[in-house]
Amino acid sequence: MSTYPEKFRFGEFVGSIVWLVFIILILVTLIGLPLIFVVLFYAPLPPVGDQVLTPYLFLSMTVDPTRTLPIIKYFIHTDLFRIAAFPGFSYAALFAAVTIFVERKFLAKMQLRVGPLYAGKIEGIFQLLADGLKLVSKEIIVPSGADKPIFWAAPIAFVATAAAVTTLIPVAPGWVAANINVGLLAVFAILGFFPLIALLFSWASNSKYPFIGGLRALHQMIAFEIPFILSALSVVILAGSLNLTEIVNSQISSNWYILFLPISAFVFYISSLAELERIPFDLPEAESEIVAGWLTETSGMIYGLIQLGSYIKTYALAALFVVLFLGGWAGPVIFPAELTPGYTGVRIYNAITASAIFWFTIKTFGMIMLMLLPRGINPRIRIDILLHTGWYKLIVLAFINMFVALALVYGGILGPGGLLVR
């Protein structure tokens, strides 16, 4: 029922936008550029190439395309780039966006539907953009009696926690934001926050369906936490380290661990489905039982942020599966530097890193597709069957493969000086 204001004129609307752009341009020229210069003048600037960077040099180098390469080379090795862009947030968010679109088309094809079709000329390619605009422009309704600080903070915490997992994932040799010695345990520690956030949000929203959903999320995540941890234990036995980079290196020097530990890989896959609340384990969001579970009172951008966080979490867990069982970035070098057009002996990119990123992306995307697959073919399971699966079956399976790993190490097949270690 939206109506235009009475005096609406399209010409005046365009005119106001032109004025706005004009004012912004003037502000940038008069305040922004001098401010940048002042900051660059006082900030300690690093040596780039063979000369120390000065503000004037910085600006002239960024404008001249033949001299931009050293600056780019410097900035992609800073911590900020690793966190904000490549192995960190933007890479994960890109994966999340692609996953959302691919999931819809993929499930539609599986169920003989067409999926999103109208936004954008080709196969509804702009559906994601349309959904984002819709979510941003919808009103956020906070239910009466809700605990407002927690209600607003929980989605933000969800996104930030999901993004924090991605800092620990090594994407290529040396390309990891936080290369710590207890990387695997740190991943488990951060994943332990999610049931807490779900429970806090459900409690804060002062409604009955979210509270039931939050309790279900708590039960489900703790029922599958122990098989999740124990399935990674056999990988640690074979690799002898908790550092994720060293786990990948030990797989490169022997073989992919999914060949030795298929049961552990299966347990890890099932329990990561449960951690992600995906069908068949989507009891916390069961839409035919408890409206939308712990997301019932979410609206607008709060819902959007929680969805973004859960898809970033999907990427993180698929990448963790690839790192633990599928050999991480292991694969042949398929982008040698000599292939670049106009190759004159100057290497623009590192061939090993480029191939590593390629293989890691391919494997992670395949793993995400495998995680989307059950949604098209499986019904939801009951909560007592879920608890029974987690506590009785998966734990036993994880222990079976732990003993297999122990036998492989003590039988002299893997481990230091083993038969299969190159």
Binding site: E139, A178, W203, A223, M301
Partner: protein
Amino acid sequence: MAGETAASFAPILYMLGFGLLASIPALVLSRLISPRRRYNPVKFLPMECGQMPTGQGRSHFMMQYYAYILMFVVFDVISIFLFAWASSLFQIPRYATLPIIAFLGIMFASMGYALYLSGRKGIW
């Protein structure tokens, strides 16, 4: 040394901060451009499928399967202990695995008994 170990965790904290920086503007932007229509008391009621909500939102709930949560508190710690053994497996002598096998025996026995008790009806 300890400072270096602590500093290697710093990117995780930076990432938490970056997550806040990336998601707070989304909420602020949404708050700026989304419509905020006039107050309607029905609109802000908790969702109960179109009915008027009865009672408090945060009332007492039947906490089923409580036994499993109690079990989690114990067995999560036990399974994390196993990581300390597994990550140093190449450095310790082979006979040091025997006490771990005994430890696993204790863990299996207690887990079996706990699962037997949590499966019984009428005591929870």
